[in-house]
Amino acid sequence: MPEAPLVVAATTAPPKRRRAAPPALVIFGMVWLVLMLAIAILADVIAPYAYTALDLRNRLSPPIFLGGSWIHPLGTDELGRDVLSRLIYSIRTSLLIAFGATIIGAAVGTSLGFLAAHFRGFVEQAVLALVDFSASLPFLILALAVLAFFGNSLVLLVCLLGLHAWERYARIARGLALSAGAQGYAAAVRGLGASPWRIYGRHVLPNIASTLIVSMTLAFPEVILLESGLSFLGLGVQPPETSLGSMVGYGREYLTRAPWILLAPASTIVLTTLSVSLIGDWLRDGLDPTLR
């Protein structure tokens, strides 16, 4: 029976829908990501050496495919540290930081977005002013400034990196909360007598969750790139901890003599960011093509 056209705020996509099989590249991305996660979780078990273990007799030895031996399959660096082990631990560090930062950013951004949508008025203006402020500085500069002032600690680094994309989540949360609130289900539930906690927690948040997750997936590789950039400059992860970016930074001096030191972490960075980006793009196209 044909219905009269309704003015509908939300999309009418059903919540459960079977997706078409992902393209080959996305599958590759998923496989790689799973591999990285496995390495990160099992680091202590699979790494042949500690990442600070020195083997001074075998300094700068080349990897297997360039004439090295199985003692150090990916070669060693200038202090005789095993590149493979350092790579494994670096993957764990970088992924941990990226996960932590993304989750922090999403939590902070979404909360601020909800606050802005719920209270309107001054609170909203303050949040929008903060968004302006974030947009006025390229994040790298901001991060460097904060690191200069506060010195270096892992916790600070994670929080800082998390905040790099907070305004995206805030924008999504605010926009969707507003449209739900004005004429939609949030207004209806409020009319039922629900408390704001219930409105946002039980209704708005589940409805925006998929959009938020897509954003998080797209922001994740950016965090990895930012952290590697900072660590490369020597300002991110500090020794004795090691991350993919800092490995590239240390390996730089030996670019001519021992390029394998930085090639291994560099390719890992590229492949990991590529994988997550591909997955994120595919998720976004599947869920909401209007999100660009």
Binding site: P2, E3, Q183, Y185, A188, V189, L192, A194, N207
Partner: protein
Amino acid sequence: MKPGGVLLEAEGLVRRYEMRRGFFGRAVEVRAVDGVSLRLERGRTLGLVGESGCGKSTTGRLVLGMESPDAGRVSFEGALMPEPGSTAWRGLRARMQMVFQDPLGALDRRLPIATQIAEPLEIHGIGGTLERAGRVEALLRAVGLRPDQGLRYPHELSGGQRQRAVLARALATDPALLVCDEPISALDVSIQAQVMNLLLDLQEQFGTAMLFVSHDLRAVRQVSHRVAVMYLGRIVEEGEPDAVLHEPAHPYSRALVSAIPHPGRSGQRIVLQGDPPNPADRPSGCAFHPRCPVATSLCAREAPVLKQRTDGRLIACHVAHGEVTPGHGFTRQEAA
């Protein structure tokens, strides 16, 4: 709950908005509701009718306390309406509910409708899990849905079924008052009649009072015990539905009634001159006078008061009360 007895009283409700015309324009005050008083009786329906922009939806929200009036007050069961959003107000929601025009927008698309019907019971802490399930089933049946349809999602139902679900949810806590804001406008004509009958059945079954807001005079007449006609934020006529429909007293009501298509009816269709009502540009005196076919110079100067006529009808019109001889419309009189 036997019908009769005052449930809700609204006195002198005023609701203003500010609009700015252009960058350099002054702020213009828009009076969406300008001095509306009404009374709702237990178990009875008051129909509120008028064209878009006359303020009827805003009146509905003010009655429920979803917005605070800028002037005037609302008292429900003798007590003043609490501030919107406060804990007292939230608790009061169990006694009064709203049914919106767009049922799809009013429902959360991620939850099956049975969960949403049960939600008011959860919010107000009514009954244990088993009792709630039983009540949800009873409600589904009462609105004409099958219990298995409770497991569906909103987008899996038709428009009429969705509106029934919304009704079931609204009635979950057995409220004393239901405000229906254009509940059938978005539905197919054939479904409209079904939902209207459903509303009547539910009122009989639950004894709920209703404020039925619509632009459709016929629908209002079908469900209401009393009808009020609104124009530009004010009530211009109020009375028994059949009486108002057959003998409208206010010139605006007359025009509205004459516009209803009626097979085989002869008689003049009154076409109103002038611009459609704009709440931001309110005419002086009686708001209707620029379009009124019988307006006089008094109508342009003085706003008429809603007064009772000898037969019990409430009308806000100088001419209808016989205070002045009918004119020939203000614009024409100007020219003449």
